[in-house]
Each structure stands twice: as structure tokens, then as C-alpha cells.
């Protein structure tokens, strides 16, 4: 059984079919990449998995169970974490606090015990902070621990957002363009981290990425989308050489000539 099953999912915005009968499975322990030109429906698929949108048709199953009856905030509790294309951090809080929000899924106390700050709450806080330190060590964020997000450079924010998703301790990690806007060195770091996330932490990764170099170096399988439809599914090498994918990205030779003529 696959960890995540996208089963014949369709989503329409008015007359626009944003996602058109898309089906694929993400196996436990693999890195699965979604590629495609702008407007192909990649981020929309992420929003479907996060339950921000309801699919018009089809089913999405996680660990064998449909998630369509879940509210958006219940998705994290299932063990699905995500990052956002345009970083969505908590700007008026420190890196530490941002990462701690990621631990919300593991919150055991309620409002009253927390207001009273019972010994149990203190013990739980210690455990959260211990877990956060592991993430900080993993992503080399030590220098930024108590810095406010609003004052951090773009590259660091990107890493913090990944860290916040890891703090959830997910089984499935959705990365929406983890390398967009990063320098070559930073992109290499991201590639190593994704490797480690997969191998050391055993977390399955589903990512959207335009950097084909990163995609081909870390992913096990790639799905190319265009206009909401599935174009090609296979290893990075297979997908990159699929004529349909080439067509979607650069168009076909004769067509181009027709336009020019």
C-alpha cells in the first residue's frame, strides 16, 4: 500500500480545470517530485492535500484512509507537513517560537493547565525544546535561534520554514519549491538535507521544484504536469527525455514556425 494515493482527482475553479483527473501514488520512503510549467496545477495539488481546496472528483488517501473528511488543521495531526511557495512564517516571532509552533501537533495540555503552568506543562515544554534543538542542529540554525523572522534574509527563512515542517515530525513532507530564490550553494545544501530527511529520518518527501538539476539529483520518481493534466511519470531521466514534456516546456518545432509565419 502506498503512503499517499491521489486517485483520479479533479478540481475546477469556475470554468478552469486546475487539476484534471490526476492519479499517482507516493511510496513510503521515496522522494517524489512534481514538475511542470507555471499554472500546471502543482501547488494546487499541494493545497488539495492540505485540504484547503475540496476536489470536485476523486479521492486522496493517506496511509490507506481517505483524508477528504478531515479539516485542514487535522492534516498535520495525521503526519503531513508542508512548506509554502511564498514563505509563510510567523514574522513577529523568533525562529525558536516558529519551530515550537510546529510542535503544536504534539500538544497534550489544554488551556487551563497551560494558564496554570502545571509541572506537566513545564516537562512538556522541555521535551518540545529538546526536539527543536535536533532540528536546529540538523539545519544549522544555531546562530538564528532567538532572531525575529522579520529581520532574517530570504535564504534563512526558507530553511526555517523547512525546519518548522520537520518539527512536526511528519511521515510525509510536502516541499513547495524548496530551492526557489536560493543561491547555488544553498540549493546544494537543500539537496543534502532532502537526502538526509529521506535516509536518516525516514520521511517521505513530495516536492514541487523547477530546478531540474535538484530534481534529478534527489528524486526517485518525477511526475510532469501541464495544464492540470498528467504528462509523464517515471524516473527523472525518463521524464526529462519524454517528448511530451519537452513539448510542454518549449513547444514543438513546426508549431513555433506557424506562429512566426
Amino acid at each position: 500500500m502506498s503512503l499517499l494515493e491521489i486517485d483520479n482527482v479533479t478540481l475546477r475553479f469556475g470554468g478552469v480545470v486546475a487539476v484534471n483527473k490526476v492519479s499517482f501514488n507516493v511510496e513510503e520512503g521515496e522522494v517524489f517530485a512534481l514538475v511542470g510549467p507555471n499554472g500546471a496545477g502543482k501547488s494546487t495539488l499541494f493545497n488539495l492535500i492540505s485540504r484547503i481546496y475540496d476536489p470536485a472528483e476523486g479521492d486522496i488517501r493517506f496511509d490507506g484512509r481517505s483524508i477528504l473528511d478531515k479539516a485542514p488543521h487535522e492534516i498535520a495531526r495525521l503526519g503531513i507537513a508542508r512548506t509554502f511557495q511564498n514563505i509563510e512564517l510567523f514574522d513577529q516571532a523568533t525562529v525558536m517560537q516558529n519551530l515550537l509552533v510546529g510542535r503544536h501537533r504534539h500538544r497534550k495540555g489544554n488551556m487551563w493547565s497551560e494558564l496554570a503552568f502545571t509541572p506537566f506543562v513545564r516537562a512538556q515544554e522541555r521535551r518540545h525544546r529538546e526536539a527543536i534543538e535536533k532540528v536546529i542542529d540538523f539545519l544549522d540554525l544555531q546562530a538564528y535561534r532567538d532572531k525575529y523572522i522579520a529581520g532574517l534574509p530570504y535564504g534563512v527563512r526558507k530553511v526555517v520554514e523547512m525546519g518548522r515542517a520537520l518539527a512536526i515530525e511528519p511521515r510525509l513532507l510536502l516541499l513547495d519549491e524548496p530551492a526557489s530564490g536560493l543561491s547555488v550553494e544553498e540549493t546544494q545544501d537543500v539537496a543534502y538535507w532532502i537526502e538526509d530527511i529521506k535516509k536518516q529520518m525516514g520521511i517521505t518527501v513530495l516536492m514541487v521544484e523547477h530546478d531540474m538539476h535538484l530534481v534529478s539529483s534527489v528524486s526517485d520518481r518525477v511526475l510532469a504536469l501541464a495544464d492540470g493534466k498528467m504528462l509523464s511519470l517515471g524516473t527523472p531521466h525518463e521524464v526529462q527525455n519524454d517528448p511530451k514534456v519537452v513539448e510542454a516546456y518549449i513547444g514543438v518545432a513546426d508549431e513555433k514556425e506557424e506562429v512566426l509565419a
Binding site: A76, E88, F90, Q92, G109, V121, R129
Partner: protein, 366 residues
């Protein structure tokens, strides 16, 4: 500048960052405790009023500063707390020690219930919605005359706890201590809120609802909780206001009070307990400050103590405009800058605190 070497997770969890900081707050507490021996009856009354306002400001701060939800109707929760406290004592004969926390609880539940439909609104629409609640409460108090005595108002009984009198006029010093104790308790709860998942979920909702949701925070429930805690604290302040005023009716908690509360926390500095106290100081002491200044000036230019209509509102408005223009982080923000300047002297740079963004931007959802 002090470098704190953290040797355990508790260093981040504890109430104070280091002993020196704790020492300063103990000193502040000692001063607060000594005030009744240093000040006259009138001044101690003013300090009591300040503390009550500070509690109300902390209540609104939970909602606006921590959770980023605007409210122009918090006078409604002052009224709920005030009337609940007085009616529980007058009609059911409950002692203050039971009626007072119950009043806070009733206001809190009212807040949470109102929040359920209200928090579907964002930003300015939420502000208008809460404004409507405030106006409705005013009308409701008049309509429910058999219970609330309408426009004639109510007089809460003198506070007595286990035979000890805390009468507003007879024992102003004792009432001051009582209010101080409540303020300290609220500060403690507020600090606990800030250092636990509860406060962090509030901040998450304030800064980005989409990602709060992705982290497993139930946004609607978090907002309702914030409204509840906020209204509860405000209700406690309302109950104390009733005792302090001696008599109150529907007019006591009008829209002006709501606006003053909001102004206070903006002037004080959003998002901190300090801000609530600084803002409360401005609101509570400004009217007295104006009249003292006017009398003082009157000696020289003549005219004596003739009241100038609207002077208070005008000064208030001017202060607010100046703060929004020149110091959006409020008095507390200015205090932080001054402190940093001296701590880092001579290395302070002007743009150190430049990245300021306003709160109340949660309408970005979807």
C-alpha cells in the same frame, strides 16, 4: 549588555531571563506595595484606577496584540463583567470572593460565544462587528431594566472578603492592594499564556492563518479561545471598575471606553504586558494631567478652571496621531530603543529596529 549563558531548557521557559531582571521586577513590586504609605487618598485612588485600566488593557492585548484580532467592542465585556459581579452579589447574595471570579468566567464565556460567528470576519469588518456588539450591549442593559435597573444604574455592595472590608472610600489603600493582587494574578496568567503552546498558537494565527492551519492549529477554535480569555480578563477589570466607580449604568461602558482601550494598547505598544501598563497609565492619568495643567496655566493667563469641551479627546487624538506617525511600536517600543541605545553605547544604529510591520494583517487568508 548582558550575555545569558543558557545551561538548560528552563532558561528559556522561566519567567525571568536572569536574576538581575527578576531583581528589577521585585524592586518595582516593592515600590507598588509601598505606594499607599507614600501617596495621599486621592493619588492612591488614581493608582487603583490605573491598575484597573491596566487589567482591561491586558485583556484587550490578548486579543489584539497576541492574536491580531481587532475589537472595538470591549466595553461590552467590561459591562458583562461589571453587571454579572454586581448582580451575583445583589440578587443571589454571593460574597465578592465567589462573585468576582464567576463574573470573569461569565464574561469569558460570553466572549467565546460571540467569537464563534464574529471571527469569521477579518480586520476592519471584525472591528465593525464588535462595535455593533458594544452598541447592542448598551441597549440591552436599558431594555433589561427589571434586572439591570436600566438607566438608573446599579450600586455594587462594598467589597468584603472574610470580614475584611475593602471599601472604596473607607479603605482606599486596601482596595488598591486588592486590585494590585488581581493585576499580578492576571500578569502571571498572561506570562504563562505567552510561554506555552496556547500563546504560540495565538501568535501563529496573528501572523499567518494558512500556515497556522498547516501546523495543526484549529484557527476558529484558537480565535474563540483568545476571545474568551480576553473577554474574561476584561470582565474582571469591569467588575473592579464597577466597585471603583461606586455606581454605574449603561452609559458607563459606552463606545468611547472601547475606543480608549484600543488607543491605550496602541499607544502603550502592541503585544506586550508592558505596553498594556504604559497605555493604561496614559488613559487613566491623562484627564487628571490635563486638568492640573489647565489649572496651572489658568493662574497665569486667567480663566481659571473653566472646562474646555472636547479638550481631553483632542489631546488624546493628538497623542495617538503622533505615536502612529513616529513610534508605531508605542511607548514600550520607544523604551526598548532607549534601553538598547545605552546597553550598546556607542554602537547603536538608527535602523536597528527598522523592520516594523503592523499587526492586524490576518485578512491574508486565501
Amino acid at each position: 549588555m548582558r550575555t545569558v549563558f543558557k545551561t538548560s531548557y528552563d532558561a528559556d521557559i522561566n519567567l525571568f531571563r536572569h536574576r538581575v531582571q527578576a531583581g528589577w521586577y521585585v524592586l518595582l513590586l516593592v515600590v507598588a506595595l509601598a505606594l499607599p504609605f507614600l501617596l495621599g487618598t486621592f493619588a492612591i485612588g488614581e493608582m487603583t484606577n490605573l491598575l484597573i485600566w491596566a487589567i482591561a488593557c491586558m485583556g484587550l492585548m490578548v486579543l489584539v496584540g497576541q492574536t491580531g484580532q481587532a475589537s472595538l467592542g470591549h466595553a461590552a465585556f467590561l459591562a458583562v463583567g461589571c453587571y454579572a459581579n454586581a448582580l451575583l452579589q445583589l440578587n443571589l447574595g454571593l460574597p465578592f470572593i465567589i462573585a468576582f471570579p464567576l463574573a470573569g468566567l461569565i464574561a469569558g464565556v460570553a466572549g467565546a460565544l460571540i467569537a464563534m460567528p464574529m471571527t469569521k470576519l477579518h480586520g476592519i469588518y471584525l472591528a465593525i462587528g464588535t462595535l455593533a456588539i458594544s452598541i447592542l450591549t448598551d441597549d440591552f442593559i436599558v431594555l433589561a431594566e427589571p434586572l439591570t435597573n436600566g438607566v438608573n444604574g446599579l450600586m455594587p455592595p462594598s467589597i468584603e472578603i472574610f470580614g475584611v472590608s475593602f471599601d472604596r472610600y473607607g479603605m482606599p489603600g486596601r482596595l488598591y492592594y486588592l486590585v494590585l493582587a488581581v493585576a499580578l494574578a492576571v500578569i502571571y496568567l498572561y506570562r504563562n499564556m505567552q510561554r506555552t503552546p496556547l500563546g504560540r498558537s495565538f501568535a501563529a494565527v496573528r501572523d499567518s492563518e494558512v500556515s497556522a492551519q498547516a501546523m495543526g492549529v484549529n484557527v476558529a477554535r484558537t480565535k474563540a479561545t483568545a476571545f474568551g480569555i480576553s473577554a474574561g480578563i476584561t470582565g474582571l477589570a469591569g467588575a473592579l471598575m464597577g466597585h471603583f466607580a461606586g455606581i454605574f449604568n449603561n452609559e458607563t461602558f459606552n463606545i468611547i471606553i472601547s475606543i480608549q482601550l484600543l488607543l491605550a494598547i496602541v499607544i502603550g505598544g502592541l503585544g506586550s504586558i508592558h505596553g498594556a501598563f504604559f497605555g493604561a497609565a496614559v488613559v487613566a492619568l491623562l484627564p487628571q494631567g490635563i486638568s492640573i495643567t489647565r489649572d496651572f496655566l489658568g493662574q497665569f493667563v486667567g480663566g481659571g478652571s473653566i472646562a474646555i469641551p472636547g479638550l481631553e479627546s483632542a489631546v488624546f487624538g493628538l497623542i495617538l496621531i503622533l505615536f502612529i506617525l513616529f513610534e508605531p511600536m508605542g511607548i514600550y517600543g520607544r523604551w526598548l530603543k532607549i534601553r538598547t541605545y545605552f546597553e550598546l553605547f556607542p554602537f547603536y544604529r538608527r535602523d536597528m529596529f527598522r523592520r516594523q510591520k503592523s499587526y492586524l494583517k490576518t485578512e491574508r487568508m486565501r
